[in-house]
């Protein structure tokens, strides 16, 4: 083999090193394993996420609703009527203070 022949000879010889399956059946088995995995929800997390998704959505809706209720109640408790009661109490207190003097 000369230097000029080298690349060609290497390529020809290297082809002998190409991957060859032990037999066609081995590749068919591998293909079947892949297809079995992709066609069935095999992982626990996949199954759980499938079944728990509606539960998670319901919990989220409840959380949002209870948050809204809390905000509504808070807004009721700080209404103008309450403020008036507080200012009356202060006045009463002021009168009491003056009376004591």
């Amino acid at each position: 083999m000369s230097n000029d022949d080298f690349p060609g000879v290497v390529r020809d010889e290297a082809r002998r090193l190409a991957f060859r399956p032990e037999n066609d059946f081995a590749l068919q088995q591998l293909a079947a394993r892949i297809l079995h995995r992709v066609q069935s929800p095999s992982t626990i997390s996949a199954v759980l996420s499938h079944w728990l998704a509606p539960v998670a959505a319901a919990l989220l809706a409840l959380t949002i609703a209870s948050g809204g209720m809390a905000l509504y109640e808070q807004s009721l408790s700080s209404s103008p009527g309450d403020l008036a009661m507080v200012s009356d109490a202060a006045l009463v207190h002021e009168d009491f203070y003056r009376a004591a003097q």
Partner: protein, 189 residues
């Protein structure tokens, strides 16, 4: 691999069907690309069982992320890229876990000696051993190009390096192979 327009159409239809939830349509893609996908993995990890496991993981991963696949794209570069990444990760993991074992005389192929002996004559064996002594990326690129006949473009897509870098790795690899196999060229230094 030369492909016909009919193949392209069938492939596009299969991808669309899989994206639409038809798991059975994936069989077309698996049958079409499995052999080359295992071959790519085998050239990197040099162990038949590992190569088959990696190909399996690559196809499952590709299936799970099929929504990210853009219409009109070819499936081949995608699946080859996934399997190459998984294979390179395994090689890195092996190097971390058992560095002493890997630093012994042959950095790759130690598990498939029997296979290779059965398949190869002496020159091929010498080439295989010389390839095994190359630095990692030169070795990967040279094996994919010289042995499995992936194109420069395919190898660039698989490894995430530019075509220019692929050519440069190949050029270095050829020079080193020529040095190591000079006695086969009828003279030597």
């Amino acid at each position: 691999m030369r492909e016909t327009l009919q193949d392209d159409k069938q492939e596009a239809a299969a991808i669309e069907a899989v994206r639409g939830g038809d798991g059975e349509a994936y069989e077309y893609l698996v049958q079409k690309y499995l052999r080359r996908t295992v071959a790519a993995a085998w050239q990197i990890v040099r162990d038949r069982t590992d190569a088959e496991d990696l190909a399996q993981e690559a196809f499952v991963k590709a299936f799970e992320k099929i929504d990210r696949f853009r219409a009109g794209e070819r499936f081949a570069p995608w699946i080859y890229r996934i399997v190459t990444n998984l294979s390179l990760d395994l090689v890195k993991h092996r190097r971390r876990v058992r560095p002493q074992e890997l630093s012994d005389d042959l950095p790759s192929g130690r598990n498939d000696h029997a296979d290779r002996r059965a398949q190869s004559n002496e020159i091929a064996m010498r080439i295989d051993e010389a390839l095994g002594e190359l630095p990692e990326m030169q070795r990967v690129v040279a094996r994919l190009y010289l042995i499995e006949e992936f194109s420069h473009t395919e190898i660039a897509g698989m490894t995430g390096i530019s075509e220019g870098t692929v050519r440069s790795h190949l050029s270095h690899a050829r020079r080193k192979l020529q040095d190591r196999l000079h006695d086969l060229m009828g003279g030597g230094h």
